[in-house]
């Protein structure tokens, strides 16, 4: 009864729906896929509140309330993992901003067009190599006894560094290799922003006696600042994501103390030790915190840089 009433009141809407039918049909396959592979897993997060065992159906699992969360929060290892994640991710957020901006500024100063685009092609290369292959490359060149990098260090009179095996060094190895892989790629947006700066501003600055360095400082940087701010606030959402692909391929048990991050921890807990419930609880915790941070980032992006995703 109540339903019929609602339906009769909404005739205009159903008419509109009919007019839009081609669009609904067109978008349907995407909706189905997103529902199955994104929304069902969201629903599947209930196993974070269960003592999940793969041999039973989802509805037959034992509910244990916040048990999994109490368990993980009581693990000293868990807080170490959180600390590692935040430290590695924050370093990367800063590095992934500063280095590309500097590179974009320097590249803009190059006048020869062919040299510029060749240079760009070369620095893009690492972006197109998978972390699997890169991990193989790094274990070759960073190896303590046979790597070319340590050979160079010894030739220059330094002590060999255990880049991939020393817990004190490993986070910085992650930082530098990540910057190395992505700085050329990340510079693209800044290069575009620099190209868009109104050239009459430079001429005005020149007439006022500003040299090239002062022009960059007083014109270029203020003009691309909104883009820098935007990229940084959008990066906030990634603070609990320190780069699973990279860490997973480069870490080893000897650097777990500083290199283990939430995503790798979840992987080992869930798919190696089959503690599905506990691993999902960690994942849910990460998702919830990330959600708040992403929303904060979007809100800041809208407020500070006037940027909206949709």
């Amino acid at each position: 009864m109540a339903q019929a009433q609602i339906r009769s009141r909404k005739i205009p809407l159903s008419k509109r729906f009919r007019k839009d039918i081609p669009f609904h049909i067109m978008i349907l396959p995407a909706v189905v896929m997103v529902f199955i592979f994104k929304y069902l897993p969201l629903g599947g997060l209930v196993i974070a509140f269960q003592d999940y065992s793969p041999i039973f159906k989802l509805t037959e699992q034992e509910w244990i309330g916040w048990g999994n969360f109490e368990y993980i929060f009581s693990l000293p290892q868990f807080w170490g993992v959180i600390k590692n994640t935040i430290w590695i991710a924050s370093m990367k957020i800063v590095g992934d901003m500063v280095v590309p901006v500097l590179f974009a500024l320097l590249l803009t100063e190059v006048r020869k067009k062919t040299y510029k685009s060749t240079l760009q092609t070369v620095v893009f290369l690492p972006h197109f190599i998978s972390w699997v292959a890169l991990a193989g490359i790094f274990s070759e060149i960073l190896s303590i006894d046979s790597g070319i990098v340590n050979k160079a260090i010894t030739v220059l009179g330094g002590q060999p560094v255990y880049f991939l095996g020393d817990p004190k060094v490993f986070p910085y190895t992650l930082l530098f290799t990540a910057i190395w892989k992505h700085f050329g790629w990340n510079a693209i947006v800044y290069l575009a922003a620099i190209t868009n700066v109104d050239s009459s501003l430079y001429e005005a600055a020149y007439l006022d006696g500003a040299n090239r360095f002062k022009q960059v400082w007083h014109v270029t940087i203020p003009c691309i600042l909104p883009m820098i701010i935007l990229m940084s606030v959008l990066g906030i959402g990634n603070i609990l994501k320190a780069g699973f692909e990279q860490v997973f391929n480069m870490y080893s048990p000897q650097v777990y103390s500083t290199g283990d991050i939430i995503d790798t921890f979840v992987y080992r807990l869930g798919l190696v030790n089959f503690q599905f419930g506990t691993a999902s609880a960690v994942g849910l915790f990460q998702s919830a915190v990330s959600f708040v941070l992403i929303m904060l980032g979007y809100w800041l992006a809208d407020r500070v840089a006037g940027y909206r995703v949709f």
Partner: protein
């Protein structure tokens, strides 16, 4: 062009030297690896190889290229790239086109936008996704590598913004002439969107070629591994003792291999296809990244 002072000229020279150095830093690790993959065992084991191959040999490549598992993985990856890129493009276009319409053209736009946006900020994560894929029955199927990522929201945003940049008058003219929405999409929008489609194709290509993790968790049969998953197993586990005696009997040079060089050859072989393709598409993806939205 503004005139340059002496100081600026000196800076320009230093700048070019510095940037060239930076480019070399991007290149040298791969260069070194290439040299190792082409060097003979005794030089590699004595750690003498830096940038030029010593005792030049191609036997490491011979070994990799005669491995049936390499070719099995290569074919799985080729299939996966083909299916994956096609599926990505199809789903992206079909979602982006309605979403690019104004609210008065497509009333439910806001609803669908929210529907697609929510999973961008709130995800089920590794374990629940794994359970869904396994309950849908995709374990050990190539579709497990294609369907879960069928709709990449970032591509949709890029495509949607591109569609919106196409003047509405063109579409109105087509509609007045009696074309349906679908005809308008196929005959008007898609031909105008080639730069954007090229960008998305490149992204999807690179993603599917380089992905290894889904292959690792969703594919149990090692004969069905995609290339990067296979490469990972080679890097983690290859040892010269894996070379069978009958292989060595057939080709004595195989006894002269070192694990490091074989791995290096494998890495180079798996990396080359993308490294060769991207310079040709550079114009498109640089454009696509800057015209589309910002990578979130």
């Amino acid at each position: 062009m503004l005139k340059r002072t002496k100081g600026e000229k000196i800076f320009a020279v230093i700048n070019v030297i510095f940037l060239t150095g930076l480019a070399l830093v991007c290149l040298l690790p791969i260069w070194n690896l290439l040299a190792v993959s082409l060097s003979a065992k005794n030089y590699v084991q004595a750690n003498m190889v830096s940038l030029a191959p010593l005792g030049f040999t191609t036997s490491n490549y011979h070994y990799m290229l005669h491995e049936s598992s390499f070719w099995e993985a290569f074919i799985v990856s080729a299939k996966r790239v083909f299916l994956g890129v096609a599926v990505n493009l199809l789903f992206t276009i079909c979602a982006a086109y309605p979403l690019s319409k104004r609210k008065d053209q497509f009333g439910a736009r806001g609803f669908y936008a929210a529907f697609f946006l929510i999973p961008m900020v709130f995800t089920g994560g590794l374990i629940p996704t794994y359970l869904v894929v396994s309950n849908v029955g995709l374990i050990d199927s190539i579709w497990a590598l294609v369907l879960p990522e069928a709709l990449e929201m970032y591509y949709v945003l890029l495509m949607m913004n591109f569609f919106r940049g196409i003047p509405g008058e063109i579409e109105e003219a087509a509609l007045v002439d009696g074309a349906s929405w679908l005809t308008t999409l196929v005959k008007v929008y898609l031909p105008l969107s080639l730069p954007s489609l090229a960008t998305i194709t490149l992204y999807a290509l690179v993603h599917h070629w380089n992905a290894y993790f889904d292959g690792m968790i969703y594919i149990n049969n090692t004969h069905n591994y995609p290339l990067m998953t296979y490469l990972r197993s080679v890097i983690e586990g290859f040892d010269t003792s894996d070379i069978r005696p009958d292989e060595i009997a057939a080709d004595p040079i195989l006894a002269q291999l070192t694990g490091r060089s074989v791995k290096a050859a494998g890495i180079i072989l798996c990396t080359v296809p993308m490294a060769v393709i991207y310079p040709f598409l550079q114009k498109f993806f640089v454009h696509g990244l800057t015209v589309g939205s910002v990578k979130g």
